[in-house]
Symmetry: C2
Subunit: 220 residues, 2 copies
Amino acid sequence: MTRVRMALFTSLDGYTPADPTPTPENPMGEDWGRLTAAYAATRTFRAKIFGDTSGAGTTGVDDRYAAAFFDGIGAEIMGAGMFGLHTFPDDPDWKGWWGDTPPFGTPVYVLTHSAPRPSIPMDGGTTFHFRDAAIEDVLAEATEAAGGLDVRIGGGYRTAREFLRAGLVDDLHLMVAPIFLGRGNRLWDDLRGFDLTHTVTTEVAESGEIHVTLTRRDDR
Amino acid sequence: MTRVRMALFTSLDGYTPADPTPTPENPMGEDWGRLTAAYAATRTFRAKIFGDTSGAGTTGVDDRYAAAFFDGIGAEIMGAGMFGLHTFPDDPDWKGWWGDTPPFGTPVYVLTHSAPRPSIPMDGGTTFHFRDAAIEDVLAEATEAAGGLDVRIGGGYRTAREFLRAGLVDDLHLMVAPIFLGRGNRLWDDLRGFDLTHTVTTEVAESGEIHVTLTRRDDR
């Protein structure tokens, strides 16, 4: 049965960097580098995102979680900002900043309130679809498209918190970097009571990164 | 050389329970039970706080940190609330709720703005002193009394945050329970930039408790 999965980065003090004004050169903003360092160092990330097939990268606990992040996903939902729609909003040929072969390999549903635009098939099995609809409806469509595999909710922060607040996330993976950002969006505000419906596990990687998983209990 | 040490409990979402109205029956309030469960289950806690010499209690990672918490302390500083001064403020014979043999075994400096009261020597080496002075001055006195051992800053929350904000804490041990309280005082607000002056380590215990240590770097 399809599960709705999400992975999020946060600092120890519970911040995700405030949405930057994204540019192709620096799509994620300044604090993201510190926050995602352990993930970006993994062999899986280097292979999936950069196409680095040399085998370089860490192979420990961080990599195990990174690999699981890509495993069994049949469809993805993301915000317009994560796709890159806001960068060149008036350019109908702009295909986002994920390159010619995006790392998804599945249908990707981009939530947007801008004018309808046609779907974009990409190399490697990714097709971007643009939807201006309630998240429940888009989730239903993505679930159908996933064909029994899981649906992953990507970023950004606003999309993530919408799904969290609606109680739609079955499996949440928090990557907690051992740093104090002291600024940004407060992730924890959206997680009140999560441990009442979800089982919590904690594990620390060789890098010092804290991995927290929340898995919806079956007794709902 | 004396170091200033502090241990704090927090939930994953960065809360310590708001100060309750303490009573002898329930001095710490309702959320504290969930927050301190892993610590209270340790063999060290049971022996030190309850005098349980049966050897019962957990002996893993949580207990290793609990034992270190008592190791090498030469003096303690705590707020009036942690001593219990607010419970019977007008009773000069009230000796706090730590029992006849408090678990400190050192001089304990209680910060208070109430009327001066004489020091209280207790069984087991603890002597309670009451001070209405700047925290820097009380720390200087405690450091002198510690005779080369370390000074521990106890609770409550207001006392802890005063020392944190003043930058006086050399070694901070955070016990992060894998729960989401969703209410209380926000601990993280006082820890901005701590990872710039202190080295961070992270470790997860068998209980799921996350132990975070922050150790002031020598290159200051």
